[in-house]
Amino acid sequence: MILQQLVNTLVLGSNYALIAIGLTIVFGILGIVNLAHGEIFMIGAFVAFFVVNGLQANFFVALLAAMGSMALFGIIIERGLFRKLRGGAEVNYFILSIGLLIVMENAALLLWGTDPHSMGLRTSAHVIDLGSVVITTQRLIIVAITVAIIIALHFFIKYTKMGMSMRGVEQDFEGATTVGISINKVASFTFALSGALAGAAGALMGSLYIVQATMGFSPLIKAFTVVVLGGLGNIMGAIVGGLILAAAEIFGGVYISSGYQEAFSFIILIIVLSIKPSGLFGKKQ
């Protein structure tokens, strides 16, 4: 029983990490908390759903389609909206993203209704039975893809020129401009990356559970909790934070109360913010 919960924690936690990394890079590098991040997750899931069920394509094609389209979407909202507020008060970014969240969620509700959709991948999944633990190959693949994406992202940020520029902007906005880094390029790219990660997370979760227009808000809260847990802009922290949150939800849901399962992330958020606002692995500001 406990082993099975641990496996579930790994699946859920890796997904939380994936969403949270997208949120934390935009927050860390550009200082923007994008509340519409969960809605990008939701639209990514719908893109994957339509590619799988409408075009009858392979799930991996759907995953790439979700990532690509959400990366493009990220560039569009950065160029069209967030860039216009640069240099103003930070709270304006926040309000802008609330507006975006409301528009995206309600547009999705009008277009696709409140009904849950399923990609229908569950029935075809192969089951691996290890005695006390049952895991479907689908879940294994999901964890593998998530780990692969996170490792790729790590190397990208560490070794490519754009990755270094992003870190430069994160450390010192004006310093980065002085040495000739184009803030516009970095900002667009960061939003594209963040969108792609959210799209991937949406497609993966959507394949496992359901796809619904209202599915975006809860991942946003969870991602923010993970970002706070792991420390701002910290990718390793986001992975650990994702696993901690998933463990708290799954074990709390089983052993404490399932009625308050959704509340656990809020309670963790409040506790961490009140005791150590810089996060478990964050540097002191």
Partner: protein, 327 residues
């Protein structure tokens, strides 16, 4: 004609309109006006926080809910009169505000906003799950109207009809406006604005920023609690779905569209957002979509909101007008 005189004249006109409305409006529009009044109290209580401390609360509807539920509990289970439950529910809400403020006010910016959202959601989940007291997701029905009272000169007033309720709500609207105005235009107000403009600097010149922030947050929660009590006994029905994230977002939208940091702006925002969907029945399904879009446009192109636009207009045309009249 200076701007002060304009303020006086427009507030007198406003008062007169509010006094006449119940005698000329049919039932349903009057109901909308009463609801607008409740939203005005709420939005002003949040505006105190957002406009004058500079922090954005995304969980203000929770205090509205605490006020409503505690008032209903006191009158229906505890046997209290509405007139005792009304201030008490404000005070209960204020105590919650103070306690939540102890944690959340140490944070700034997005951390503060998400922390308030977290508290609000936890409170809402308690309302949903604590079925014995709150009635769970179905809510509570058949909440009594405010008790009859006998006032000197006026005589006995019963609150079965809409009109006395309307006046009751608007009396509290004026109390709220008065208190917010007094707080902002006092020495205390300057301290609060200093906290908003630069918290670190305010601390340096000897302003106890935490003390002021806690004070404002508690007052803000107090008025939201009052609004909750008025709301519950006016509508006779409450459920956790009236006090969720959507309502907290509605309040933020009202303030931003109306104009942050002013008193008249949020009032305009509250009235506009309550009445607009009624006038435009065709767009009712698109209501939130349109609000979201307006919010985006306002924050990018007119961060001062409607109040800011009005001020720009009067600044531009009023001097011309007065010189013409003078010559």
């Amino acid at each position: 004609m200076n701007s002060n005189r304009i303020k006086y004249i427009s507030s007198i006109i406003g008062l007169a309109v509010i006094a006449i409305l119940p005698f000329v409006l049919p039932d349903y529009p009057l109901h909308l006006c009463a609801l607008s009044g409740i939203w005005i109290i709420l939005v002003l209580s949040l505006c105190l926080l957002q406009g004058y401390i500079g922090e954005l609360s995304m969980g203000h509807a929770a205090f509205f809910g605490i006020g409503a539920y505690s008032s209903v509990f006191m009158t229906m289970t505890g046997g209290f009169s509405f007139w005792a439950a009304l201030p008490l529910s404000g005070i209960i809400s204020m105590i919650f505000g103070y306690l939540i403020g102890l944690v959340s006010l140490r944070l700034r910016g997005p951390y503060f906003a998400m922390c308030t959202l977290g508290f609000a959601e936890v409170i809402r989940m308690v309302l949903v799950n604590w079925k014995k007291v709150t009635g769970g997701p179905d809510g509570i029905i058949a909440i009594p109207s405010p008790n009859e009272i006998t006032l000197p000169f006026i005589g006995q007033i019963s609150f079965i009809n809409k009109i006395p309720n309307y006046f009751l709500i608007y009396i509290f609207v004026f109390i709220t406006i008065f208190v917010v105005y007094r707080i902002v235009h006092s020495l205390m107000g300057y301290a609060i604005v200093a906290v908003r403009e630069d918290q670190d600097y305010a601390e340096c010149v000897g302003i106890n920023t935490m003390k002021w922030k806690r004070f404002i947050y508690s007052i803000s929660a107090f008025f939201a609690g009052l609004a909750g009590s008025l709301f519950a006994h006016y509508l006779h029905f409450i459920s956790p779905y009236s006090f969720g994230v959507a309502e907290s977002f509605d309040l933020v939208i009202m303030i931003i569209i109306g104009g942050t940091g002013t008193i008249i702006g949020p009032i305009i925002g509250a009235v506009l957002l309550t009445l607009l969907p009624e006038f435009l029945h065709a767009i009712k399904d698109y209501r939130m979509l349109i609000y979201g879009a307006i919010l985006i446009v306002v924050i990018i192109y007119a961060p001062g909101g409607i109040a800011g636009l009005l001020k720009n207009l009067t600044d531009r045309y009023l001097p011309k007008l007065t010189t013409k009249m003078g010559s």
